[in-house]
Assembly symmetry: C2
């Protein structure tokens, strides 16, 4: 398997965690989002992924895009260890927590949106940073309340082993820390993040541990 990745991309980070949790070896192809005006914006990369976003996973003849679709694919092709629980309602809970990050937080703060805020709307650094913190805070507040209120929450987002939800949460917490968002209001998120950080699958997937890290 070959993963097109960028060390700081939190969507690529999710897939790196999932690959590690499943014990799957892959070769990393770094795509630098800032160098040369963005390698992901090249004609070659657009041929691989018309959406011009990382990650992309190549597996045999298949070219897969969108981090959550990739992790669902890994779950179906390599079921052990499972990243989704067995029962349908619990699977929906885990997917919903993952989408709380992947739909409602991350897309508002990714590189192209930050660029549009600066270039098209003329926002200064302070307003742009406030935008970033605002959407993480709105999302984390909802996730914190969901997790804290539910007995299905364990050492991880769902029970006692990591799931798709943890694959999405941990990279978003890293982004929050980069954005200097205080995490005190989210004790459950912090606790789960600390538990994940005890596992090699998570620490090996972290931005600083990547070959393309700067």
């Amino acid at each position: 398997m070959r993963l097109y990745t960028y060390f700081h991309s939190s969507a690529a980070y999710r897939v790196r965690i999932a690959l590690n949790l499943k014990g799957l070896r892959y070769s990393a192809v770094p795509v630098h989002l800032l160098r040369d005006g963005g390698e992901h914006l090249s004609v070659e990369f657009a041929r691989l992924n018309p959406a011009r976003l990382v990650p992309v996973l190549e597996d045999g003849g298949a070219t897969l895009t969108q981090s959550i679709a990739i992790i669902e694919y890994l779950e179906e092709t390599h079921p052990q260890p499972p990243l989704l629980p067995a029962c349908a309602a619990a699977r929906a809970r885990v997917r919903s927590l993952a989408l709380d990050v992947a739909c409602d937080i991350h897309p508002l703060n990714n590189l192209r949106v930050r660029r549009y805020l600066s270039s098209a709307l003329g926002l200064g650094d302070a307003q742009r940073e406030e935008w970033i913190r605002h959407w993480i805070a709105v999302g984390f507040e909802a996730i914190e309340r969901s997790l804290a209120a539910d007995v299905q929450t364990g050492s991880f987002c769902h029970g006692e082993s990591p799931t798709l939800a943890d694959c999405c949460l941990v990279p978003q917490i890293a982004n929050a820390q980069r954005a200097k968002l205080p995490l005190d209001p989210y004790p459950t998120l912090r606790r789960i993040n600390e538990n994940c950080q005890r596992l090699r699958a998570f620490t090996d997937a972290a931005p600083a541990a990547q070959p393309d890290a700067e």
Copy 2:
């Protein structure tokens, strides 16, 4: 089953299509996003969904949130007719197309973001409408190129029957039409939308066909 819905919510519209495609009866509980400062922002609704977003589906004892997680749940609990193909790579393709809409277009344009653009950033109507059209155009351009280049595209996004991808695409096209985005650059999207609009499952789910439509 009970669906908390708002006629104009495109995330609720996705779930309405999926319920109809599977022939599942449900009772609709309208949640008005504009009346009384937003019924979804009430204490009662936050207890149901801490993220304060529609849709929410109640099924037996389960309370389900996030439209794609809900549709995956329906797929697992009511497999016929399938909204995902059988093979893992094809399932990943359909999920990726759905997430191209659900992650990379819709979250940038939903009500709370439009409100932030006006209130916190002081954008006028013209700049806000330009923002909306910009992100739909960026996303549609990528989806058009993905669909047009792939022999797996048929009368629908994937083959000859509707999938999760069509459940997401059609509501986003409705949003694009409301935003007055010209659709000429996206002939494949338009063709698929027209094919979907021939099916009762789609037309019965449309905003104008809802009991709470205005």
